[in-house]
Symmetry: C2
Subunit: 472 residues, 2 copies
Amino acid sequence: VTSEREFIADHRPDLIADLDEWLRIPGISAIPDHHGDVARSAQWFTDAARAIGFPAVEVWADGPWLPAVFAEWPSAEPDAPTVLVYGHHDVQPVDPLQLWEHPPFEPTIDGDVLRARGAADDKGQLLFHLLGVRAHLAATGRSTPAVTLKLLIEGEEESGSPHFEELLRAHRDRLDCDIVVVTDTGMIAADVPSTVTGMRGMVTATLSMHGPDLDLHSGVFGGAVPNPATALARLIAALHDDAGRVQVPGFYDDVLELTDAERELFARVPHDDDAFLQVAQSRALHGEAGYSTLERIGARPTAEVNGLAGGYQGAGHKTIVPSDAYAKLSFRLVADQDPAKIMKAVDDFVAAHTPPGITASLEWDGAGVRPCLVPIDTPAYQALTDALSAAFDGAAVLPTREGGSGPEAALQQAVGAPLVFLGVGLPDDQIHAPNEKVSITMLQKGAEAAAYLWTGLARVGAAALASGRTPA
Amino acid sequence: VTSEREFIADHRPDLIADLDEWLRIPGISAIPDHHGDVARSAQWFTDAARAIGFPAVEVWADGPWLPAVFAEWPSAEPDAPTVLVYGHHDVQPVDPLQLWEHPPFEPTIDGDVLRARGAADDKGQLLFHLLGVRAHLAATGRSTPAVTLKLLIEGEEESGSPHFEELLRAHRDRLDCDIVVVTDTGMIAADVPSTVTGMRGMVTATLSMHGPDLDLHSGVFGGAVPNPATALARLIAALHDDAGRVQVPGFYDDVLELTDAERELFARVPHDDDAFLQVAQSRALHGEAGYSTLERIGARPTAEVNGLAGGYQGAGHKTIVPSDAYAKLSFRLVADQDPAKIMKAVDDFVAAHTPPGITASLEWDGAGVRPCLVPIDTPAYQALTDALSAAFDGAAVLPTREGGSGPEAALQQAVGAPLVFLGVGLPDDQIHAPNEKVSITMLQKGAEAAAYLWTGLARVGAAALASGRTPA
């Protein structure tokens, strides 16, 4: 009998072949022209899950959401716990296209690195699960997994999961589980295994400011009427004070301040600001005064400008007072901030910062994403870190908090089960940026940890997982 | 013998036919793809000037500037003064195209109104000169004008005349004159003749702010690195205080403050803020505290944002810390502000407002345009207002100051002659905006005033014009 690790190493070519096929489908959920590709992407994964043995695989396209995939592989073991793996198959947009060294949807391999949009976020990580369950079966000699395995693969996570809660409600009867395993995150480094214990929430909006009903000659009218681009800039400038603190009244009201113990855990995570800056290709740090970089990213909320537009943007110059100006804004949230309360607070802030003669409108993208914080003293967390440690040759697994956002809190709330994160992205994977990449070796580690985890969770048992206590 | 006015009325169809032909050429100087059209536009005017009898017409394309037209029609009268008429044949860009009710380069007539890009700014006004000189000859029975007439028609005024001073230097020997007549401005209203006595200067620049070298995931990096869009907004916000005063140190140092007498002249100009707002399609006034609307436009400098760009601008949302953000900025200047000094002051301001980790660059478009202020106690000014008054049935002609910018100061400095403004645009012509239009009747008034002006200036004589004294 082969080991999990050997099986995975032997089948590395399958993993690469799957990546090569799936990554060619440009399933960009944020761009309506690509919604057909999102559907093709869902179908691809459906076929792939069936091909490795999942007895039941369905595309869920019966609501306003983009096609999601649900797969189920019941365990033959009596009383086996049920695991729900969550991930997403849609990808980020690719502009600015000219910064890609290779076409984003033509995967290229260079040693251990595979480059393409979605390689790490999140297609590569979903593919390690397909390999992982095969390794689990091969190494344990089973014909069904030790746990009942459910996969829920969303199709609009990169658009902020606008219909995910509705999807969960519509299919709630299929989603019963004893634990949720989220696979859409990363680790500290290739040799420093870690697991995420927090994700930020998020609300995003397009802020439009409208001034005169037409672009005006800035000579004839400039200096005498309000300029919406100036008004927009002044509002954005008012979002932060000089110490980087968000100035929206009430913004921090529900933020769980870090305890000394939590700050101590943050301090244990190996982190080097210079290396961080190198990955970010930024020439300085900047953020809320009084917090470390990891704390700023993992435990503090933000107000960020994602895009600006308005007036003349072409070659040369056009001397106008523009009629309109726009900003794409996003707010990352931490426990226990409530997206609805933050949206209301920002609405009020915008109203208070809209000068006479300017009409502002703030269009929120859906209901937002709640922040998620995972307790680290549970059997579920212990099983996860045991599996990861085994895949990384016994190394200790550090708890981290990521700054990104996913629908984890909504999922946890919907199914009422504990949740852990199993993800093997690396900090320099350039997800959401040009030249996204993934380490194939890291995907193999993910497959291996998953294979161990199904065995481990079966050992813990459904009752202990649900109760949050370790078995006697 | 027909009168000037009758001749012009009889030949209104010629004016319309010329407008219809010339306005179809999209000579947008700000857009390199249209530079071939700018050349075609110059050729069109060359042919038109030749056709009505100008014995010498040349396209000047012998430098880095876009093609300009120079035409000369010597007077047969001994000692006739020489008049240099200045205008421009290039036009503004047309975006946002979807706001045009008719295609911008397919002129449409509705009663007395002709709509097209360039109808008022400046092709219509140049065409009234062609009709005006024909009327002058017909009504006075001359075969050459009473003054030696030179036309200098620039091809890159709408791009800020970046090479105009170089053009003036290169062709200085052809530009000797006793008076400059600028035709690129407007009047208070169709029944309130007026003439411009001041134009603002201008400097324009593109401000680029660069943060990280790639767009970053705002979850992974947001809140920990500087965001160039936020930095840009904070710099723009710092440009003005809450009272609308520009905060660039030294900005007002050379501004000629209005005298009580000048403020009294401003107050005489009929102006209604409500009507102004209606034309501007703006819901409020906004500007430097302590000044009236006309003073703000005519006698006060500004800092204006003409466009914003950066990060993600497409559909949906992309949660990034953008790598770059841009603003198109323009500063309107008044006497005696010096473009070079203002550019230096803004350079310093940008440097002082660039936070750590952000690289700012400010790219100025050429050397800028100087402000121009016309004295109103000269024979040249008197001849102009007499001609205008005659065209408007004896109405008094009010001095105004426009907020727009042209290369008048440079021209005046180059030729060393007094300068007056003869222009018949109207405040609601929507120049630089969608649906630009012109009143054909106003163009006829312009032609009539020009026809009278050549007779009037000949009567004043070259010596008196140059000396600035009225003839004995």
